[in-house]
Structures are given as structure tokens and as C-alpha cells.
């Protein structure tokens, strides 16, 4: 059987739900978007327009949970990468959005550019565990008012997998839709294919800001899915207990869900969880043991509401328990320095660790194929299995015997395992970047995307 685990009992799941209702019904959430406040008021929520505090009843909550789709497909530019929700197999998200990158030639950290976003997409394209590409690094060479849009444009050209992007304000939405139309040909296809979703972080505790929310509410008209991704810092923006942080995340996701479902019933949503723990000395956000457990509990809450889930973490041995709880997506490959630096060699290595860990989580399969007693009987005492047909077959089946595509077993358990792997990973990155661009967009579409970005710069950028 597969390795499976549980971090909350049924009663504990119900208690989280109950605590969440206490927060939503009695404390309320602060919602700064006028548009959202209006829709909520019209739908019977208790809205105080002065304080922007909204109280949400259980009835309204369930009404919105009922309209949120239980299954849908995160499309990809190349349909072979379409990712179904709920998923049959966990996928990883390229981590973003850093401000720098380890230069593959010099090994030094430097500020990242739009070209780096594109190249990061190309490397991610080749990672078998990578399902969804968040924009990776920042296009710092582009105007600050529009660089989110440039990042979206660049990552979309670098990879043909599903994209998760973000916008900072409403003005950018129409350009993002223009870019999607340029790629897919028509508005209908944008709505049907859903090749890009957005990442939305509430502001813990219990606040929804206006500019990003307004931008995404505009995109909702085109059915752009939203990953509602609270990032509380335990001890700083959430209480210093795992259970209470799970409750807080739940209240933030569900209040976000209510807003999005009221504005666009049926909009595909993801239940996200991305906590960190405060470094007791500096207050820095640290993704560590507590985050693993909190995200696992969030996964159980997502299941309780029949919503697909996205967890933070990934790419290390700490991911094993997360695999055991079967989320759809896990963020967190491709960066270091707590999400501040993109590291392409690290991406290749983390992809390898994901593969190894997922193999462990897959557990021991017992079926006709794996019951090879007949082979033992045939060989009898003293025989061997190297020449058996079954060995030949299973060595080609990664779900039974894991054989790495990139890192031969000679890299394991040596004194310099990580250093050696890294040198090897750098070579892999270089060979990917020297090769052709996979699923390259036609020249005319690329030119059209550049034109849209330039139009956005002119309209939204500060006049020099």
C-alpha cells in the first residue's frame, strides 16, 4: 500500500471548521475592495463600509462552497501538460518570485532580468516533477509598474506548462488577457483552456487588500482560476500554535472563496497554505517543520470542503510526509534564501529529490506484477535475478525501482554528494539552455506579446 498519514482526526477537522465560523461570523474579515464589499452586502453578508469589516454567516459560506467547482483542469499551452484537479499524481510548482538569480556561468548571485525568467521557464519545462510554473524571478530590467506583466509574458514563452502568475493592480488585467488571447487565439479559448491561474495572498491576519483583489476580480470574468494562498508567519502574523494557524488559514481561504464565488459563481479555486515560522531573533519567515505540518492539516481541511489544495514546501526530505497526504500541488522548487534567489542548478537537484521522495511515498505495491514468487521458485536456492524478464521490466518502471534520469547512483552517499550533484546539475542546466526552445511560440505571437507589453509600459509606466 501507499504510505499514508493523517494529522487531524475527524473531530479535529470539525473543530477547525467550528473555530473558523467563530472568526467569520463574529470577528469578521477586513476587505478593502469596494467592489467586493458591495457584492458581499448585496448577498446578505454583514458589511460595515466604514471599518470594511465583513461578517460571513455559515449559510452564506456553504452557499459559496457549493458553487466552487470540485473538479476542473488547469490547462497548459501544450495540452500534454494539462493538469487535472483533483490530481491523480502530485505536481510541483516552480517557486517565485525572487529578486535575484545564481548566474549559471559565474555562480554568483545577481539581480534577475526578463531574459532570466524566460530561461528559468525553459529549465523548468524539462523537470518531470514540475507541473505549474510560477514566474520564477523578477524582470528587474523592466519598469516597476509593469514588471509582473513582463514576468508573465516571459514565463509563458519559456514553458508550455500551466502558468501561475500575479498582478499588482487592476490596470494590468486587460493586458494579461490580451497576452492570453494572443497565445490561444480567442476569448473563448482563454475561458475554456485556463492555461494560466493567479496567485492571491490574503494579508494575515484576516485581511484582504484591494489592488490585487480588484485585478483578480477583473480576471474572474475570464474564468482565470485563483490559488488563495495565505502566508501567515507563526508567532508574528498568526498565533504561535500550529492548530490556531490552521484555523486562521482556513478563515482566510474561506473568506477569499466567498468573495470570488459571489463575484463569479463557479470560478475555479485552489485551497492554498504557505505558512512560515518567525525566526525568534530576526522575525524572518522560515519555512520549516511547522510549515510542513500546518500545510498537511490545511490539506485535510481542503479535502473536507472538496477543494483542490496547494501546499508550500518541496524539494527536500521534509516533503515526504506532504506526499503522504496527497495534495494536488506543492510549491517550492527552484529557489533558495527563503524564496529570494532563483537557483537553476538547485531546481534540477530538487526535482531529483522530489522524485526520490515520491518513490518512498508510493510505498510497496502488492499485485500480480510485483508478486514474483514464481521467479524465486524458478531460480531456487543459489540462483540469481539479473537475467529475469521481470527484472528487466521493473528496472524500466519508476514506480517500482526508481532509476534517476539525471543523477546516476554513483552520486549517492559519497562524501561530497551535494557538491558533486551540483556540478552535474550545472552541466544539465547548460545543456538544456544550449538546446532548442521546446514548444516555442510562433514568431508572430512572440511579436504580438512584446507589443502588448510595450503598450502596457506606455499606459501604466511612469513617464520618464
Amino acid at each position: 500500500m501507499k504510505l499514508r498519514t493523517q494529522v487531524l482526526s475527524q473531530e479535529e477537522v470539525e473543530l477547525v471548521h467550528k473555530r473558523t465560523l467563530e472568526l467569520l461570523e463574529h470577528v469578521g474579515v477586513c476587505i478593502k475592495s469596494e467592489r467586493a464589499l458591495k457584492v458581499l452586502a448585496e448577498s446578505g453578508a454583514e458589511v460595515d463600509f466604514n471599518t470594511q469589516i465583513v461578517k460571513i454567516s455559515e449559510t452564506l459560506l456553504w452557499k459559496c462552497l457549493n458553487t466552487a467547482p470540485k473538479s476542473y483542469v488547469l490547462g497548459a499551452r501544450n495540452p500534454k501538460f494539462d493538469f487535472p484537479m483533483p490530481a491523480t499524481k502530485v505536481g510541483h510548482i516552480l517557486d517565485g518570485i525572487t529578486t535575484g538569480i545564481i548566474d549559471i556561468e559565474t555562480g554568483e548571485r545577481r539581480p534577475s532580468t526578463k531574459e532570466d525568467v524566460f530561461q528559468t521557464g525553459r529549465v523548468f519545462q524539462q523537470m518531470d516533477m514540475g507541473a505549474v510554473a510560477w514566474s520564477g524571478c523578477s524582470a528587474l530590467d523592466m519598469p516597476p509598474e509593469t514588471h509582473s506583466l513582463h514576468e508573465f509574458a516571459a514565463i509563458l514563452q519559456g514553458t508550455s506548462k500551466h502558468i501561475q502568475f500575479e498582478l499588482r493592480h487592476g490596470g494590468e488585467s486587460k493586458y494579461a488577457i490580451e497576452i492570453l488571447k494572443a497565445v490561444l487565439g480567442s476569448e473563448e479559448e482563454v475561458i475554456n483552456r485556463k492555461i494560466a491561474s493567479v496567485l492571491y495572498c490574503p494579508i494575515s491576519p484576516l485581511t484582504h487588500d484591494d489592488s490585487m483583489l480588484d485585478a483578480y476580480l477583473e480576471l474572474a470574468e475570464y474564468d482565470v482560476p485563483v490559488n488563495i494562498y495565505p502566508c501567515p508567519i507563526v508567532g508574528l502574523t498568526s498565533p504561535a500554535s500550529l492548530f490556531s494557524t490552521v484555523c486562521l488559514i482556513n478563515a482566510e481561504v474561506l473568506s477569499g472563496l466567498v468573495i470570488y464565488q459571489l463575484v463569479k459563481p463557479g470560478l475555479p479555486l485552489m485551497y492554498g497554505s504557505c505558512s512560515g515560522t518567525a525566526d525568534p531573533r530576526t522575525g524572518d519567515y522560515v519555512d520549516k517543520e511547522e510549515s510542513v505540518l500546518i500545510s498537511m492539516a490545511s490539506r485535510e481541511m481542503a479535502k473536507f470542503y472538496h477543494l483542490p489544495s496547494v501546499l508550500s514546501g518541496g524539494g527536500s526530505s521534509e516533503t515526504v510526509p506532504q506526499y503522504m497526504i496527497e495534495p494536488e500541488l506543492i510549491d517550492g522548487i527552484g529557489t533558495m534564501d527563503d524564496g529570494m534567489t532563483t537557483d537553476l542548478a538547485g531546481l534540477v537537484m530538487q526535482n531529483e529529490f522530489c522524485n526520490r521522495n515520491i518513490r518512498i511515498a508510493q510505498g510497496i505495491r502488492v499485485d500480480e506484477e510485483t508478486d514474483l514468487i514464481a521467479d524465486i521458485i524458478k531460480q531456487g536456492p543459489g540462483g540469481g535475478f539479473l537475467g529475469s524478464k521481470s527484472t528487466r521490466k521493473m528496472f524500466r518502471d519508476n514506480s517500482e525501482i526508481y532509476i534517476s534520469k539525471h543523477f546516476p547512483d554513483c552520486f549517492r552517499h559519497t562524501a561530497n554528494e551535494h557538491a558533486d550533484m551540483r556540478l552535474h546539475a550545472i552541466e544539465i542546466v547548460k545543456s538544456i539552455l544550449d538546446g532548442p526552445v521546446e514548444d516555442e511560440l510562433p514568431q508572430s505571437v512572440q511579436l504580438r506579446i512584446d507589443e502588448i507589453c510595450k503598450n502596457a509600459d506606455r499606459a501604466l509606466g511612469k513617464k520618464a
Binding site: T99, S138, L140, P144, E145, H147, S148, R168, H169, I203, D209, S211, I233, G235, L236, T237, A278, D279, P280, R281, T282, G283, M340, K462
Partner: protein, 219 residues
């Protein structure tokens, strides 16, 4: 009196806000010498807290509780301390804010707590504060230093914009501008003409001390 001063010191050191408030009220009611109350009571407590933090004994939540107790005591004594007769002068006024379009306020709060802990008077404007509001606050409060925090590569530019606005208004020379936040660097600070940059709260204190050229102060 000695015992009372010690209680004041301890209330701040241990971050007991209610005790600090009660003791501050008592000081007013009994018309105690406020300079002594501050220098030999509350201020000693916050200095010690800062010291313990620097030594690694105190964690951030300990320091923040001390800073909160200090702030609450100060709020009670505020009016009285402002009278020249009190003889008390603060080490300097600092306006702290997270720039417009940016909600990341944790780093700024921590820097503010550290600066409070060494005796500066902090005016925290909040986060996502429009540039005009920051400028108004600078005219009104006339701080010695203004600290601008930005965590997004899309909002760092507001640090530059505020500095330019100050120049246009002819008030740039009257105030030191310091900048910080995860994506901010020394190079950026130099490029936009800021007076200083630091990447954590302890060096932010050293920076402010240096800028205001005050001797004998430790983080």
C-alpha cells in the same frame, strides 16, 4: 523612590504593559521628577531589554513586549514630558513607514521596536501609506530620521519618489532618509540618494546612531 524606580525598570524589562502604565500614572499623581522617572526607571528597563536581545538572551517577542510597555508608559507621560520643565529630551524622532502599494510591515515593526528599545521616539505611519501622507507627516512631526521600508521590487521605487519629492519641496536637507526591506541594497540606497541602508534591525540602530552622531549609545 528607589524601589519605585526599580519597579518601573522591571515593568519594561519584563514587558508588563499594565504595570508600566500603572506606574506611569502613579508618577504623575505623585508629581515625581519625570527626568528621574525616565532616566533611572523606564529607560533603564528598555536599555537592558535591548542589551539582552543583543546578547542573544532575549527573543524578538520578549523585546517587542518591552517596547510595547515602554510605549504605553510614554503615552501616559507624553504631555508632561513635552513641557521643557521636565528636563527630559528624547534621543530623536523617527518616522517609520512601509511605502505605498506595499503591505509588508513586519520588518518595519521590528526595526521600530529596536529603535524604541534604545530610546528613540517612533512614529509608525503604518503600511501601504500614500507618499503624500508620508510627506505631510514629515512636515508635521519634523523627525530627525525617516525610515522607508519596501519589500517588493515594484514598490522600491517609492523610496526614490519620496526622496525626490522632499528635494522638490526643499526639505530634503532637514531630515535623514534611511531605507530597507529584503530587495533593497546598498547600491540602490546610494543610487536614489538615501542617507543610509541596513539589512537588519540591529544595524539599523547603529545606522541611526551614526547618522545622528550621538555618542555613547549601544544597540
Amino acid at each position: 523612590m528607589k524601589e519605585l524606580l526599580n519597579k518601573m525598570r522591571v515593568s519594561v524589562l519584563e514587558g508588563e504593559e499594565e504595570d508600566a502604565v500603572a506606574l506611569a500614572k502613579q508618577a504623575l499623581a505623585e508629581k515625581l521628577d519625570l527626568k528621574t522617572v525616565m532616566d533611572e526607571g523606564f529607560v533603564l528597563g528598555i536599555r537592558e531589554a535591548g542589551q539582552l536581545y543583543a546578547e542573544g538572551e532575549y527573543y524578538l517577542p520578549d523585546l517587542v513586549c518591552s517596547a510595547d510597555a515602554m510605549k504605553s508608559a510614554l503615552a501616559i507621560l507624553d504631555e508632561a514630558l513635552k513641557k521643557p520643565a521636565s528636563g527630559f529630551t528624547s534621543k530623536g524622532k523617527i518616522v517609520m513607514t512601509t511605502v505605498q502599494g506595499d503591505v509588508h510591515d513586519i520588518g518595519k515593526i521590528i526595526v521600530g521596536a529596536m529603535l524604541t528599545a534604545v530610546g528613540y521616539e517612533i512614529y509608525d505611519l503604518g503600511s501601504d501609506v500614500p507618499n503624500v501622507v508620508v510627506l505631510e507627516a514629515i512636515y508635521k512631526i519634523k523627525p530627525d530620521v525617516v525610515g522607508l521600508s519596501a519589500l517588493l521590487t515594484t514598490t522600491m521605487v517609492e523610496q526614490k519618489n519620496i526622496i525626490e519629492d522632499l528635494k522638490v519641496a526643499g526639505t530634503r536637507n532637514g531630515v535623514k532618509v534611511i531605507v530597507g526591506g529584503a530587495p533593497v541594497t546598498h547600491e540602490w540606497a546610494n543610487k536614489i540618494g538615501a542617507d543610509g541602508y541596513s539589512d537588519d534591525a540591529i544595524s539599523a540602530v547603529e545606522l541611526v546612531n551614526r547618522l545622528l552622531l550621538r555618542e555613547g549609545m549601544k544597540a
